[in-house]
Amino acid sequence: MSGSRDHSRSRSRTNAALGAAGLAGFLALGEAVPRLGLVSEDYFPPTSRIATALGTELGDHAFWTALGDTLTGWAIGLAIAVGAGIVAGVVVSVVPYLRRATASTIEFLRPIPSVALIPLVVLLYGAELRSVLLLVVYASFWQVLVQVLYGIQDVDPVAEETARSYGLGTWARVRHVLWPTALPYVMTGVRLAAAVALVLAVTAELVIGAPGLGARIAVAQTSQAVPDMYALVVATGLLGLLINVGARTVERRALVWHQSVRGEVAL
């Protein structure tokens, strides 16, 4: 990410052009493969038919309700995960011995796939928003927590000692030393968590049947409405893209002062 501004701007323009060409090629392939009869049109409709179905979906009020449901689950789940992840990460790092006491537990809980908890949440909450939230929070919490832990570990001991010798209290050190060091890590965690949260929100709806885009995909599937199903899958893909772009923008805004974003060579 180093180099002059002009250079990076022209490079980003080339990247955008290449990206657009790649996408166009992919769409053309999606049109050609079923048309040439390589796969059955019944099960893999050409791009144009998916696009038509997507247009119909966008004009349907129920689609926007489903989108709203998915985004509600995503946003609330992400907010809880980020809040809890940051607080837990800071507390675990700041309180003496807590990091080592919790390390093995965290390493045990973290790799449990959220999807494996589906039978449990169905028993606890049935097909409701709470089920979605539990899965989303469980999956994205670890992303944030682990990044916060790494970030705080990265604090420069000299800066930390300096702050101590100037008599800064715990809160002041968290605010002025820990937080600025950890923030780039936290932002990475939030970006990863945002993507994971969407995956889990849609998965939960698809498997459990909680209202949202996932449940709509399942209905299209059971109704033999194949183009509609692909259109909804595309819609979730676009949503993921928007969320990623949004998360990157937030990250860049929050870290304008940081060298990774400023793009200047560190001294």
């Binding site: 169905v122 097909a127 698809l206």
Partner: protein, 323 residues
Amino acid sequence: MRRLFAGLTVGALLVAASACGSSGGSGKSGKSPSSGSPTTVKVGIIPILDVAPLYLGQEKGFFSRNGLKLSLTPAQGGAAIVPGVVSGQFQFGFSNVTSLMIAQTNGVPVQAIANGVASTGEPGADFGGLAVKKGSPIKSAKDLVGKTVATNTLKNINDTAVRESVRKAGGDASKVKFVELAFDQMPAALAKGQIDAAMAVEPALTTIKSQGGTEIAWPYVDVAEHLTIAMYFSSTQYAQANPAVVKAFQAATAESLAYANTHPDEVRKALTTYTKIPANLLSELTLPQWPAEADRPAIETLEKLGEQDGLFKKTPDLDKLLP
């Protein structure tokens, strides 16, 4: 329509559900549904053909007239519905009869309270059938010996029914190989030759036929003349604590079923509100029957066949299970 019928995979869940299912269920006890503001009941359903009468009855006001407000909650199959009903998130649920019998013999406290859906009983015009692809050498259920048949769940109502078809056609049912496949994936699997036959229900059945496939048997009809396939149920605790609500639900459901039976056009219209079945399939598909009452002799036959197939740990108690 996948996992329409809760399979044995649910068994473990069911047992777990029964263990922690005593918390809910009696939350709204003592309230009479016919007086004052309507009682809201949550019904766990699968968004398929079978539950159209509830949507229709809700629209026609049959439930509000009985003091009930329906909250129809689509769930992905019995795997989510049975635990939901037992733990009290749903007051009522929709499940096939074999699954209810399996649940009961596993000690899960469920009780059927109203009829759900039945086979039309007409060979050649049922909403579920055993189909093969175009040009298949398999001409009858007897030819399935040594072949692979897809059903949506194993060890449940559909493979039991297919076995009966094979037996009735004079074949050895124990030599038929069953694989589990969701209904919506059956047309593709059949076309690609991954399976030799599929026990499909609408709308997948119409998709198969539109691709040139043919039905070789009607397993539901082979089991009984008017086979009751699925019913609405509640937990035993809820039914005991809320007899008035259950009675109101029974009355409104019976009315809805009767109305659906005599107004197929309105059923097809109702289907567009909660499914996405394409218009070309919608006009062609065969609707099931919705009798107001369950057919006890047919369920007894289903029970015997299930026992023969080893589905139950002990004999189901139909007197306790059925309304």
